[in-house]
Symmetry: C2
């Protein structure tokens, strides 16, 4: 291959095969053109996007413990859920926090938005921060079963060490919390 | 529904439908049993796992700019790639760093491992850290096209602000780097 230029090839689509359309995700396989004219395939999961919230209450982080079928085990995570059609991510974050934990956020700020796995999926996760919540009643979806916990930073580190906290958004939340304590800033 | 106990329901599988088996991912839909006896479905992407590396060289972070077909745009990310069959994650991290950037790591330490999107995928990403690398030659896969950059923390923050850095592992890398600067510790 020629010496690479400073311009990235954009992988034009030659064909798209739609494989699956589910409740949450869709799967397609795109055939793309490579710089040298050959073709390759890209497996792509389409996802509606999701919102999560780092909620601190009385110095503790609000987390939920739930069974994650893809992993075959329970995990402790910050509250999160997929966006409903046309839903503002900020409102989804507040809604998911209230539904899963009962806590009502009076103010949230966008901390980060990130692609969870850009190699095969377009899922974009918006992560909000709040330290202004009041307790209320859980309102779970009918196929959800979660336990709410409030944990200290030391407990979070123990859950990370034991593997009970091991997802991208919750690790990011713990990093933001540590950075807040060390520098006064969330990022 | 009854008052929830402190034990999470484990979603026993009643049936599995295998939808797709590709080069990188597989897709299945499991029918599961809910606590009240009704059923629900879970859309599950199976992924072989991946490894990434936070590599600091002369005070800068080694990153790659590449086109991400699922997103339809280029992104700046830390070097990463999926595990080959039976490959040790640590060796995959060193291999991907060398292939994508030419830099050879003489030592890496596991910083975190995390699930990128536990709601629908089992992808587990191992993130290693190194500050002991030497420069060498890129050896890209034949369908890869990446540009290597070394960036400062201030540049990383600018790329985050502009959206060119916006994936979970690279945000985590920047958080770890900031925490290292603020506290002397990576986590």
């Amino acid at each position: 291959m020629e010496k690479r230029s400073e311009k990235i090839w954009h992988e034009p689509t030659l064909a798209t095969e739609h494989i699956f359309k589910g409740k949450i995700i869709e799967l397609q396989v795109d055939t793309i053109e490579l710089p040298d004219g050959r073709t390759a395939t890209r497996e792509i999961v389409r996802h509606p996007g999701a919102a999560a919230v780092i909620a601190l209450h009385e110095g503790k982080l609000i987390v939920v413990e739930q069974y994650r079928k893809p992993l075959g085990k329970t995990q402790i995570e910050i509250p999160a859920g997929k966006l409903d059609p046309n839903e503002e991510p900020q409102l989804a974050a507040v809604r998911e926090l209230a539904e899963e934990t009962g806590y009502v956020a009076h103010f949230v700020q966008l901390l980060q938005k990130f692609y969870t796995s850009p190699g095969f999926a377009d899922e974009l996760l918006y992560v909000y921060f709040t330290d202004q919540v009041t307790a209320g009643e859980q309102h779970l979806d009918e196929d959800e079963d979660v336990i709410v916990r409030l944990i200290t930073l030391e407990e979070a580190d123990r859950y990370i060490a034991s593997g009970q906290i091991s997802d991208a958004k919750t690790l990011l939340a713990v990093y933001a919390w540590k950075l807040l304590q060390a520098t006064g800033k969330l990022q």
